[in-house]
């Protein structure tokens, strides 16, 4: 029993860590898509953010400079998508796909050119990484049954960025539903003509959404290379951008459901890691490949309409052209 509970807390703690980049990325997608700009390039942006934050962190020795570099790089990268989709009214899926290819290639080439380690960046340690934070009284309450270990071992002792990610969820909800910017953002994704005739600039709103998307994917990438790992590996995002996209659709573009969807994918990921080689009652030894495939299988099932009809922003993917 004792052992099982310890295993449970460790799976839950891992779930929070694994959900964090998904939450950042899915919320990033939420801002962009709610404004009417479909963003399939979350994956590429995370990769860019992870790479440049690791580079900056290793060069400067500061995780914070790494974060800054990650955010700036993803904003610039995202603006390419904005320029293609908003100003030049291009096809958003094509632009996003192209950017994913660019990100995958660029990070490896630059990494190889600069460090010659097959796309890896140097190992980060000390202040160049985001360490863990102990919440107040974590040690004191650790002895309390059930709640104590959950607080001390699951909630406490995570990276700062984990807490930031979870705080972003209510913040996003508040921005979306309680501020003028949020009202206009939701409106421009549904009916840009209504926003335009109300005297509000459609492109400027959408550019701001794309920039916020860049900031959040910058956090996602930085978390992966500077907090979760100690450096950048080629293709280290491994499809998490797409899973975040799936979570966003599954959650019907709503902030709080987005968090739960990301937690669901996170727990599957955590189980995949913890259950490798473990033997379960009835099933016997679980095949590693099966467990690792679970999040992706879930993605397919969810997106195949298992969750009812998603209702995406109506003007999503459609460039706005002023017309009568």
């Amino acid at each position: 029993m004792d052992f099982d509970f310890a295993a449970l807390t460790s799976i839950l703690a891992l779930t929070l860590r694994l959900s964090t980049p998904l939450i950042f990325a899915a919320l990033a997608g939420l801002y962009s898509e709610r404004s009417g700009i479909f963003d399939i390039s979350l994956e590429g942006k995370m990769l860019i953010g992870a790479f440049f934050s690791a580079v900056a962190a290793s060069a400067s020795g500061s995780a914070w400079i790494g974060l800054l570099a990650g955010i700036v790089s993803t904003i610039l990268f995202g603006l390419v998508h904005g320029l293609a989709s908003i100003t030049y009214r291009g096809n958003q899926i094509v632009s996003g796909t192209a950017l994913n290819f660019v990100a995958a290639g660029l990070t490896v080439i630059l990494g190889q050119a600069w460090y010659g380690q097959g796309g890896r960046t140097p190992f980060l340690s000390g202040a160049a990484r985001f360490g863990t934070i102990d919440l107040p009284f974590a040690q004191e309450v650790a002895g309390v049954p059930v709640i104590g270990p959950l607080y001390a071992n699951v909630l406490s002792g995570q990276s700062l960025l984990v807490y930031v990610a979870f705080l972003m969820v209510p913040l996003t909800w508040w921005i979306l539903f309680r501020t003028r910017f949020g009202l206009r953002l939701r409106a421009v994704g549904e009916n840009p003509a209504a926003v335009d005739t109300a005297g509000v600039s459609v492109p400027w709103l959408r550019y701001r959404a794309v920039i916020i998307c860049g900031v959040l994917t910058g956090f996602a990438g930085t978390y992966m290379s500077v907090a979760q790992s100690a450096g950048f590996n080629r293709d280290m995002t491994a499809g998490r951008g797409y899973i975040a996209l799936a979570a966003l659709i599954f959650a019907n573009w709503k902030p709080v459901p987005v968090m739960f969807a990301c937690l669901l994918f996170g727990i599957l990921d955590a189980l995949a890691i913890r259950l490798q080689g473990a033997s379960l009652p009835i099933v016997g030894t679980v095949s590693v490949q099966f467990i690792q495939a679970l999040p992706y299988i879930l993605t397919v099932i969810l997106l195949a309409g298992f969750v009812g009809r998603p209702s995406p922003p109506k003007a999503g993917g459609v460039p706005y052209v002023k017309e009568r």
Binding site: R178, L183, A187, E190, A193, A198, V200, S311, R324
Partner: protein
């Protein structure tokens, strides 16, 4: 003479080589309802977009309340007191009424304060103008008439003194339109100025004080409504004399071509839309079905044309039993001699991105003379399209042009030509002149009567009571899925209107 609310002086606007507005001079007096009529493409909407700051004029000047203003974007228009109710509502469907009203006029970065202000203001507007609407209702769940009211409220909330309405009745039922006119009259009484853009002459005659007629980008006349009439306006719009009434002799009904018995149809929501309907259509007569939109006419047409399965009943077409319950194949019905002009040409009648010639053969593309085996013969297709273009005077006469580039009236002619040129025995026609210009309406009506005179059986569904009355030889009134009365074409509009509103047959006759 009253003070001008808005004056346009020598406004010019070109799109490429097309001059949409040529030296427009217009003066609208304060506290009046000013109509602007013209055919589609006459430049009405362009002119209004210039007033609203959506486009900038190439030359000319706009004065609001005597002061020159340069309306560079909608914000300037709004702050000058100009409000616009667009033909296609500028509403966010999944927003509440409050959210829609405050969008763009929130006044502070946080919403909470603004929401209360909008709520108070809506209450005041509701009290003063009889504009009742639930502020917390989600817009997409409101009927169209109320959605339009939200648009009006949006403009009034922003302090509009000059209200521009672009084709406001196109989507409204007659009752909703009447209510709108009451609201407009009341706004006028309060000193607001209203500009009403329409191509329906009846509306102009009913509520405007003055009217300007536009043709090919120019204002060809501005007259006091009291000093003109519909015929004169139609002539000014089209540039030639137009017959507003259909010239037709008495019908000579022959054999029964279409016989419908006890037909019932449910829609996708499982609601019974057609309820035990029986009637027949004979050769050489036009049977009109009158009714407010949504009373089962659409479902009836769909069931008869084989697009929708019926729940019960039987249909005899040209002495052959067809099974409406199992659903007949529309292609087979067409081969038997049934043609169908669907109510909504954009959704069912045409594929807009296709060329004219492709649309001219849709549904008839298997005709032997159009090709061999799986191949179409492009020359034969073009020949047929060219013939239809000539017969129906479709403009521009270019069968390679994309269908979306044709005007509404010409698109409708493409559908009518396709269905009528195959010389069907029975013709089902839904809303033959919806969104069609006066000149084209006259043409379409003449062709329908000509088919009747050639001995064809015609079933006409229209929400335009005038159209039903002037074309039909017999009128069936549908209400809530049932046929609630049969009348002759000489029946008064009032009596038909009562039947359409569900008043029983006897009461209506009294």
């Amino acid at each position: 003479m009253a003070d001008p609310a808005i004056e346009l002086i020598n406004i010019d606007k070109s799109f490429g080589a097309v001059r949409a507005n040529k030296s427009i001079n217009l003066r609208v007096d304060k506290g009046t309802i000013h109509g602007i009529v013209g055919e589609n493409g006459a430049g009405k909407s362009t002119l209004m977009s210039i007033i609203y700051g959506f486009y900038q004029a190439d030359a000319g000047e706009i004065r609001v309340g005597g002061r020159k203003v340069s309306i560079s974007d909608p914000n300037v228009a709004i702050s000058s007191g100009i409000g616009m109710v667009h033909q296609h509502f500028m509403l966010v469907d999944n927003f509440t009424v409050i959210e829609n009203v405050m969008l763009g006029a929130e006044q502070s970065p946080l919403l909470a304060a603004g929401i209360q202000r909008v709520r108070d203001e809506l209450k005041r507007l509701e009290r003063e103008h009889n504009l009742e609407v639930d502020p917390d209702a989600v817009v997409e769940e409101l009927p169209v008439g109320l959605q339009q009211r939200v648009e009006i409220l949006k403009a009034l909330y922003r302090g509009a003194d000059i209200l521009i309405l672009d084709e406001p009745t196109g989507v409204l039922t007659p009752a909703e339109a009447d209510h709108l006119f009451e609201v407009l009259k009341q706004l006028r009484a309060e000193g607001k100025t209203i500009i009403l853009i329409t191509h329906k002459l009846r509306e102009i005659m009913a509520i405007t004080d003055a009217v300007s007629v536009m043709r090919r980008g120019e204002i060809v006349a501005t007259v006091k409504t009291a000093e003109t009439n519909a015929g004169a306006l139609a002539e000014l719009m089209v540039g030639r004399r137009v017959l507003l009434h259909v010239d037709k002799g008495p019908a000579e009904p022959g054999a029964v071509k279409l016989k419908v018995e006890h037909l019932s149809v449910r829609d996708a929501r499982r609601v019974k839309m057609v309820d035990d309907v029986s009637f027949e259509v004979r050769a050489g007569e036009i049977v009109g079905i009158a009714g407010v939109a949504g009373n089962g006419q659409s479902e009836l047409l769909e069931a008869l044309s084989g697009i929708r399965r019926a729940e019960a009943g039987s249909v005899r077409l040209l002495d052959r039993e067809i099974d409406p319950i199992k659903g007949a194949d529309p292609g087979a019905l067409r081969a038997m001699g049934l043609a169908h002009v669907p109510e909504d040409r954009h959704h069912m009648g045409l594929v807009l991105p296709f060329s004219e010639s492709e649309n001219a053969i849709l549904g008839y593309h298997r005709d032997a003379d159009l090709g061999r085996g799986v191949f179409l013969d492009p020359a034969a297709v073009r020949r047929r399209a060219a013939r239809e273009i000539e017969d129906f005077d479709i403009r521009p006469p270019d069968c390679r042009l994309k269908t979306s580039n044709f005007s509404g009236g010409n698109q409708q002619k493409i559908v009518l030509a396709r269905e009528m040129e195959r010389d069907p025995e029975v013709l089902l026609i839904g809303q033959p002149t919806r969104g069609v210009d006066v000149g084209a309406i006259e043409f379409i009506h003449r062709r329908i009567v000509a088919m009747r005179d050639a001995g064809k059986a015609i079933l006409l569904v229209s929400v335009e009571l005038d159209e039903i009355r002037s074309l039909s030889d017999r009128i069936l009134v549908m209400f809530a899925g049932r046929i609630v009365g049969e009348r002759g074409p000489e029946t008064s509009e009032n009596e038909l209107g009562l039947l359409m509103a569900g008043v029983t047959s006897q009461e209506a006759a009294e």
